[in-house]
């Protein structure tokens, strides 16, 4: 068995390369071209619109607080709890999300609706809903797990820098105050309230099985 060898020749530098002067002039040409292009764009105000063409040639700076590059539709930001029509959380305190959470950073204290509430027996509600955003790894499993579309990460906020850890522990009120990128606090998915004709009517307490 003969090994096939491939001889890679060292690049031969010519005298011109070696003298560096010609190459220097070439390099200056490249940078000067860029310089004049950039200056022309700045002076005439024709810097590329990075919102529409994020990878366009030319000045690539986003003037952050004034200009923002939009996040992708499915970008995972800070969580929010979606609202029902009456403003209460859609969450039914099923604990799917806290079970799915690999970082175990969701704490939910479920509670039964009061006697006489038409939702009692059909579903529970979260008395407390706490997410430790410092522990969260922004994997989005909670969103995937939720059967009610009650938790979402479509706020478009990234975590801000705060100077104490307690501020990163978001409670129910905080999570419910967040607004989605579409500007609403609801979810477009339909919701079937107990008593609606579309509601399956199966309950833990009143079910026939």
């Amino acid at each position: 068995m003969t090994a096939t060898t491939k001889v890679i020749r060292k690049p031969q530098r010519t005298m011109a390369d070696q003298s560096y002067v010609i190459e220097l002039v070439k390099g200056l040409g490249v940078t000067l071209k860029h310089f004049f292009k950039g200056t022309r764009q700045m002076v005439t105000g024709t810097t590329p619109d990075l919102e529409k063409h994020p990878y366009a040639d030319g000045i690539a700076t986003v003037q952050y607080p004034e200009e923002k590059r939009p996040y992708a539709q499915r970008w995972r930001g800070v969580h929010r709890l979606t609202h029902r029509d009456d403003g209460s959380p859609r969450c039914v305190a099923c604990l799917c999300c806290s079970t799915a959470c690999p970082a175990q950073c969701i704490y939910i204290k479920p509670a039964e609706y009061a006697e006489g509430d038409k939702r009692r027996g059909y579903e529970r509600y979260p008395e407390e809903f706490v997410i430790d955003e410092l522990r969260c790894i922004f994997c989005g499993f909670c969103v995937e797990a939720c059967p009610c579309d009650a938790i979402r990460m479509d706020t478009g906020y990234h975590m801000t820098a705060l100077d104490d850890r307690a501020s990163f522990i978001y409670d129910k009120a905080q999570l419910m105050s967040h607004v989605g990128q579409d500007g609403t606090q609801k979810s477009a998915n339909p919701r079937h309230e107990p008593g609606d004709p579309t509601h399956p009517g199966v309950t833990r307490l009143h079910g026939g099985h």
């Binding site: 220097l24 200056l28 000067l32 000045i59 690539a60 700076t61 003037q63």
Partner: protein
């Protein structure tokens, strides 16, 4: 009168140079930004009422100055306090002093301000004459080498007195680099001295006005001198004395506040000075093609234009020409700084001693032969002066 003249000129030159350093700081930031598809600094603002004046980032230079003044002036313990404080001064002052012999415009004859130029003035000594340079020294450009050499001391002292390993290494590198390149720098000008038959910058400009720009008779020397001048400023690609990746910030690692500012602005002033030197020796100084002491003279290709200017116009055009030439060279130097990667230390030494130095000597030899060839070989015995 002489003293007033001198003081006004010194104040003017030093003021311009120091402010140039601040402006070049801005130019450098903006230029590199444009080159790298960035915007560059533009956030610092002077707030007037509800207006925020950003002046395209120029305010950053002011902010930097204020910051340097108010920064804690920390000094390393165990270092040599006196030398530590002297070093930045020794680094900055020679850079400023270099300009003393550089002529920046044609001589102004006060008594003839309203007249057209007349040939008699060339020999006339009567009347007030304002030469556009601070000092007229017999040693001429040799003064430049003497003073530029003193800049090494600043860097070396800074490295030594900081009581820091990295500073010391940076100081060592700075001194070896500057000493090496001074040799090549001095020798590269010998050819020009031979051709101009003078070490006086004013004579050089006059020669170039009568014949042609120095870059055409000494192209090799131009490249050699420009290279070693850039090396002397210790900026990229020759910035091993302050190589961030190896020796933190080199010889000025331990400096803060205005002391650091003196090193930083010294560098930028050196950029201006070396550009001015290049302009005087190789690019015709304040001279524009076809512009003589009398005005525009164009007698080529069958076209004859003789447009006489008043003396004051000639002087102003000369001043402006000089400034523009220097600014163009400064721009190119900054561009080189942002184009080339840094050389390794051994490459710098090799370039200095094994390439630039022999080439400079070769240039002297070739120039000598060239002069002999053009002037004809002198008869035996005529060599003695």
């Amino acid at each position: 009168m002489f003293w007033i003249q001198a003081f006004v000129k010194i104040a003017l030159i030093v003021g311009v140079l120091v402010n140039m350093a601040a402006i070049l700081l801005w130019v450098e930031r903006k230029q590199s930004a444009m080159m790298q598809d960035r915007i560059g600094p533009n956030r610092a603002a002077i707030v007037v009422g509800s207006m925020r004046i950003r002046a395209a980032g120029l305010v950053h230079s002011i902010a930097d100055g204020i910051k340097m003044i108010w920064k804690e002036d920390w000094e390393p313990t165990g270092g040599d306090k006196l030398l530590y404080r002297l070093a930045p001064i020794i680094a900055l002052v020679p850079a400023l002093c270099l300009f003393a012999v550089i002529p920046f415009g044609p001589t102004l004859h006060v008594s003839h301000l309203r007249d057209l130029w007349s040939p008699e003035w060339a020999t006339e000594t009567a009347g007030t004459v304002i030469p556009m340079r601070i000092a007229t020294l017999d040693v001429g450009l040799l003064y430049v080498f003497a003073v530029a050499g003193a800049g090494v001391i600043g860097a070396a002292l800074a490295g030594w007195s900081s009581n820091n390993k990295f500073s010391l290494l940076g100081g060592l590198r700075a001194s070896s680099q500057m000493v090496s390149y001074e040799v090549a720098m001095g020798l590269s000008l010998v050819g020009s001295f031979m051709i101009y038959q003078s070490v006086q910058p004013t004579d050089m400009v006059n020669w170039q006005m009568q014949h042609c720009w120095g870059i055409f008779v000494q192209p090799l020397a131009f490249i050699l001198f420009a290279t070693s001048a850039i090396a002397e400023t210790k900026r990229v690609p020759f910035d091993v004395p302050e190589g961030e990746s190896e020796v933190v910030a080199g010889y000025f690692t331990e400096y803060a506040g205005l002391k650091f500012g003196m090193f930083a602005s010294g560098e930028l002033v050196e950029v201006c000075t070396s550009s001015a030197l290049l302009v005087v020796v190789f690019l015709g100084g304040w001279q524009l093609p076809f512009v003589q002491n009398t005005g525009l003279e164009f007698h080529y290709l069958g076209i004859d234009v003789s447009w006489h200017w008043a003396h004051i116009v000639v002087v102003l055009v000369g001043l402006l020409t000089f400034i523009v030439k220097v600014l163009v060279l400064v721009f190119l130097q900054l561009q080189i700084r942002w184009t080339l990667p840094r050389f390794r230390y051994d490459q710098i030494m090799m370039l200095g001693w094994k390439i630039l130095l022999p080439l400079a000597l070769l240039n002297v030899l070739l120039t000598g032969f060239g002069i002999l060839f053009i002037n004809g070989f002198p008869a035996t015995g005529a060599m003695t002066p």
